[in-house]
């Protein structure tokens, strides 16, 4: 490393950019400690009277505690869709990489061909089909479509092909293990890092999902956090009385991102792994 001057300049630029990226989080953290008057009347980037505990109380009691229901729904959708889609992707990814069966190449080509279909274009027709099957406004309308993860299948196929050696599988077969056992006790442990990445990404995608539940659900007891908070926000902007006030919405937004930030900080390795796995080498 030469030049001290360049290094200082580089750190100044990084510092400014870090402020830009972190400013909204700082604002949210500060705002969540204020009551509604404080939110509107005090300096917006610094603390005023401390009302975080009151805000949390109101948040959890607002509309008969519906926020807790949303929190639970988001967690439930994320866990079920995350685990479900990871298991399904693992089975398919392994089969595409290691098992020979008629139609394999055709099916995989179909997967590659459809991987770029934009999800937003599918929401409306999926809604119409779901309503014909009388499944609109049920948890299945949100969970079932989220189980499909073509990119996860693709990533796991690539991963298995590269890092699960054929000899290991063959050895297990010679030892008398059936195909299911070869998969569960030999392939699965070897796939673990990629599985964690796929699980993390599909859980976060489900936690963050908005368009699909927005369209599918009208019962607010089934809403995930994203749809619920947007409903509160709309109502507050329109000035409806009796609804959640802005300080409550802000606190709700803060609580909704805490699990994500925690997961993000603890599992950094897998986040980056997911972005670089299967991207430009």
């Amino acid at each position: 490393m030469n030049l001290k001057k360049g290094s200082v300049a580089a750190h100044v630029v990084m510092g400014l950019m870090a402020i830009y990226f972190l400013l909204p989080f700082w604002w949210l953290l500060v705002a969540a400690t204020k009551n509604n008057e404080g939110l509107f009347q005090s300096a917006s980037l610094w603390f005023s009277d401390f009302h975080l505990i009151d805000n949390l109380k109101v948040l959890f009691e607002q509309d008969n505690g519906v926020y807790v229901t949303w929190l639970r729904n988001s967690a439930f959708y994320a866990v079920v869709s995350g685990i479900g889609s990871t298991v399904i992707s693992a089975l398919a990814g392994y089969a595409f990489a290691k098992l020979r069966f008629p139609g394999r190449n055709a099916l995989f080509a179909l997967l590659l061909g459809l991987i770029m279909v934009p999800a937003t274009a599918l929401v409306l027709p999926t809604y119409l089909l779901m309503s014909q099957a009388n499944m609109v406004d049920t948890i299945w309308a949100v969970i079932l479509p989220s189980l499909l993860n073509p990119f996860g299948v693709y990533l796991l196929r690539v991963y298995v092909a590269d890092s699960v050696p054929e000899e290991m599988l063959e050895a297990a077969r010679i030892d008398g293990a059936g195909e299911v056992r070869v998969f569960t006790s030999v392939a699965l442990p070897a796939m673990k890092p990629a599985l964690v990445t796929v699980l993390l990404f599909s859980m976060v995608a489900s936690w963050n999902n908005f368009f699909l539940p927005l369209v599918m659900l009208s019962d607010d007891q089934l809403y995930p956090l994203t749809v619920g908070l947007r409903a509160w926000y709309m109502s507050a902007i329109m000035g409806n009385s009796g609804g959640a006030t802005f300080n409550v919405i802000v606190t709700g937004a803060l609580i909704a991102i805490v699990p994500l930030i925690a997961a993000f900080l603890m599992l950094q390795r897998y986040w980056r792994g997911g972005l670089t796995l299967g991207s430009v080498k």
Binding site: L124, P125, F211, A256
Partner: protein, 311 residues
């Protein structure tokens, strides 16, 4: 089901150490094929139920017209013709194109600068910066947009002193661009950083010995070498912006006059379906948009095929 359940007992005989007879080898192959199908079956069912079927269904209903008098009538491509001639669709398409062509390069340049900085600097602060830039990506788009909605507000936001109305007709597109940039720049930074990390260090060691500055190395050597990653990131971002939906929908109540019900093609399709029950017309718009994004993505993928993920 039944054939597969027999497989654990039959498998050991099938794959004998020395290969076995033709009959047992064929049995082994059958077993493998059955297992293969059993393993891909859940995925194949989902692929059909939630991808192929909705696509086919959207295409089918987009060819019909629903009227009070006649009911459902086959109308060929009338809905598509109507969509192409619809000034509200055109306005939305032009808007997302303008948005994509301005916001995307701004964000990619920001991401590139950030990636070059964390690639060159190895301080603790640069590791902290990498996290800080990436964190917005972990936040739901809905909540990211809500936060910026508050920050833009002239009553609770920190920028009220500037006197700028961030949600006026003239400024709201730029304000939306800022939200997308904030949320996705860090993601693209990581993608570009990964490409930079994959470069052979020797190539710029010699430039450094020849007296090239770090800035020169970054701009003249590193940047061209990750050219294909840059192109891919740019094109995928443009594809994403064509589908622009959540951010404008969330900010809509702040100024419904500026963020109209036909602000982007996706918002228009959503409104047509859920406010006006025009499912057929909505399906045509969705299908058209989906087709453009789909075909566009593949053209770009093939054009940059050598370095892309889908080799």
């Amino acid at each position: 089901m039944t054939e597969v359940q027999t497989s654990p007992t039959a498998a050991p005989a099938a794959v004998g150490p020395s290969g076995g007879t033709a009959g047992t080898r064929r049995a082994a192959r059958l077993k493998e094929a059955a297992t293969g199908w059993l393993f891909v079956l859940p995925f194949a069912v989902l692929l059909i139920a939630f991808l192929l079927l909705p696509m086919a269904y959207a295409f089918k209903i987009s060819l019909y017209r629903s009227t009070l008098i006649e009911g459902e009538v086959f109308a060929w491509f009338d809905n598509y013709k109507q969509a192409i001639d619809d000034p509200l669709v055109r306005e939305g398409v032009v808007r997302v194109l303008v948005f994509g062509l301005i916001q995307t390069p701004v964000m990619i340049v920001l991401a590139l600068v950030a990636a070059l900085l964390i690639d060159a600097a190895t301080s603790r602060f640069s590791r902290f910066f990498r996290l800080a830039a990436f964190v917005p990506y972990a936040v739901p788009v809905v909540i990211g947009t809500l936060m910026w909605g508050f920050l833009y507000s002239d009553s609770v936001g920190p920028f009220a002193w500037t006197g700028i109305d961030f949600t006026s007709t003239g400024t709201v597109l730029a304000s939306l661009g800022n939200i997308v940039t904030w949320q996705w720049a860090g993601y693209n930074m990581i993608v570009l950083y990964a490409a930079l990390q994959g470069l052979p260090r020797e190539t710029y060691e010699s430039a450094r010995i020849d007296g090239a500055s770090e800035v020169q190395i970054a701009l003249r050597i590193k940047t061209p070498m990750i050219g294909s990653a840059l192109v891919l990131a740019t094109l995928f971002t443009i594809m994403g912006t064509l589908q622009f939906f959540t951010e404008p929908l969330i900010l809509q109540p702040l100024n419904p006059g500026a963020i109209t019900t036909h602000y982007t093609p996706n918002i228009y399709a959503y409104q047509q379906a859920f406010s006006f029950q025009q499912y057929n017309y909505s399906a045509a718009i969705s299908f058209l948009l989906g087709a453009v994004v789909f075909v566009g993505s593949y053209i770009f993928l093939f054009a940059t095929r050598k370095r892309s993920a889908l080799q």
